[in-house]
């Protein structure tokens, strides 16, 4: 079983022969099982060298770096071995032809809305009005003819959706408006942190397939980011991140004391991040019986299956139907 490792302390990551060690500031040594590692998440200030990166490359380990504030900075991706020029050309066709691109963008949003509604319907008495508003807004998706229109609808839906959190959350966490870079209240800090974890998880799954992470549909392909991750994250943010956020707050796993308040900016502190990641990791490895595969599938693997479905759509095999959690 491959798994992820998270480093919060400052120190040095070091390769010794074919083993990976982490030395913290007190020179305490800890070995990391490179064979069984899929992703390394670096939150602390860590030194490393090229020989270490070579070792990671050999074992196909992704190294994700986060800055002091916990924002995603970038990823070291080992040389990509999964290459299919044919697939990338076909993927591009679905971007270039407007109707095809619209179909993809709409599909991602339909799935996102399905999962948002699924989350808040659990609190029926409290969220009835929000559900109605979202359903009303979602109807407009079918007739939207441009990506901008779809993005607008998405923005309004998300506003209703996050507002409904005020009815759901038990502690004194309040949603006013979405603020990022930097988040200005604890709830926004949680959303930002969770979304960045989701983004890197999606990236590491895309890298195991022949998809090109830079060619996206709902989000404009950009030079700064792997925008296909943003597209796919639309599906998985409500399915995974938001569920973890709600459960962390309502089960008092995370409280106000797990945040740092710096002028105008609110961030999860180290203990808060650790607690969130623990829940996130557990969520990813939770399994569901897949009705077509007739196998148990982890939430993480659902991301991979979504990638496979995209490839099948691009190569004209099976029209893409986005995941809509049925369980």
């Amino acid at each position: 079983m491959l798994r992820d490792h998270y480093i919060f302390s400052n120190g040095r990551l070091k390769r010794k022969d074919n083993t990976l060690y982490f030395f913290d500031e007190q020179e305490n040594k800890k070995s990391l099982p490179v064979h069984q590692t899929d992703n390394l998440y670096i939150f602390g200030e860590v030194d490393l060298n090229s020989s270490l990166l070579n070792l990671l490359s050999q074992h196909d380990v992704h190294l994700h770096v986060f800055n002091y504030y916990g924002f995603y900075a970038g990823t070291f991706c080992p040389r990509n071995k999964k290459v299919s020029g044919f697939t990338v050309v076909q993927q591009s066709v679905h971007y270039l032809e407007h109707e095809k691109r619209l179909y993809m963008a709409r599909s991602f949003l339909q799935s996102a809305v399905h999962h948002m509604l699924r989350n808040i319907r659990r609190y029926k008495e409290k969220t009835e009005q929000y559900v109605k508003n979202i359903e009303e807004e979602a109807k407009k998706m079918d007739s939207a003819t441009t990506i901008q229109e779809l993005m607008g609808i998405e923005g309004r839906i998300r506003q209703h959706y996050y507002q409904s959190f005020n009815a759901i959350l038990k502690q004194d966490f309040i949603f006013e408006k979405r603020t990022k870079q930097p988040p200005q209240d604890p709830l926004n800090a949680l959303i930002s942190f969770g979304n960045s974890l989701c983004y890197t998880t999606v990236l590491s799954e895309i890298y195991k397939t022949q998809l090109d992470p830079t060619i996206s549909f709902l989000h404009e392909p950009s030079t700064k980011r792997f925008s296909l991750c943003l597209d796919l994250a639309e599906i998985f943010k409500p399915l995974l991140v938001d569920v973890v956020i709600i459960s962390c707050i309502n089960n008092r796993i995370i409280t106000q004391k797990h945040f740092d308040f710096l002028d105008g900016m609110v961030l999860l502190n180290e203990e808060g991040k650790k607690r969130f990641i623990k829940e996130w990791d557990e969520k990813l490895s939770t399994t569901v019986q897949h009705r077509k595969l007739k196998r148990k599938v982890s939430y993480r693997y659902f991301i991979r299956l979504e990638c496979y479905k995209l490839i099948k759509h691009f190569i004209g095999d099976e029209p893409y139907k986005p995941l809509k959690a049925w369980w």
């Binding site: 071995k81 999964k82 290459v83 299919s84 020029g85 044919f86 697939t87 195991k208 022949q210 009705r291 077509k292 595969l293 693997y301 991979r304 299956l305 979504e306 496979y308 479905k309 490839i311 099948k312 190569i315 004209g316 095999d317 099976e318 139907k321 986005p322 995941l323 809509k324 049925w326």
Partner: protein, 165 residues
């Protein structure tokens, strides 16, 4: 040119052949395939001629005076294995080398001898033509459930489907 693996996939599943040939390969992290790789690395330690790449297209596991040798984990796909060997023998014959084939199912301690007949030759020629036709198609052959699908490295890819809402 066709590779040995392609010839084997042609017999096992034409969809797998198409996907593999377009670079949509799933073998990399599949456990059974990794097991096969290790098996190949350890096979025939006494033979000198191992892993011979012929004309940059097909790779023979090993070669001795009498036989072309091929090693397999299990004998679940005997017809496809035999066909792959026949293809090697056919290609070698075209280059003026006449050999017999020997497939080793080492885990089962079993071997299978293969000889190329005229009838086989025309079957191979027909298969080569058909492979080219299949690869011309812009999309893969439709999914068809076969009894051995669940053991295949492509299973999750093929069956990643959504039900009706």
């Amino acid at each position: 040119m066709v590779s040995g693996v392609q010839m084997q996939y042609y017999k096992v599943c034409k969809r797998k052949l198409w996907l593999f040939s377009k670079g949509i390969a799933m073998e990399n992290e599949h456990e059974r395939v990794i097991e096969g790789k290790i098996l190949h690395e350890r096979a025939y330690p006494r033979l000198e001629d191992r892993e011979i790449l012929v004309d940059d297209t097909f790779k023979l596991d090993a070669l001795d005076k009498e036989y072309v040798r091929e090693i397999k984990i299990s004998s679940k796909m005997p017809e496809a294995d035999r066909f792959q060997m026949l293809y090697y023998l056919y290609e070698l014959k075209k280059r003026g080398i006449t050999k017999k084939g020997l497939i080793s199912y080492t885990k089962e301690r079993k071997t299978e001898e293969v000889e190329l007949t005229e009838k086989d030759e025309s079957a191979i020629e027909k298969a080569i033509k058909e492979i080219y036709v299949i690869l011309q198609s812009p999309s893969p052959p439709r999914l068809k459930k076969l009894p051995y699908c669940t053991k295949c490295a492509y299973y999750e890819f093929c069956f990643a489907l959504e039900g009706d809402d």
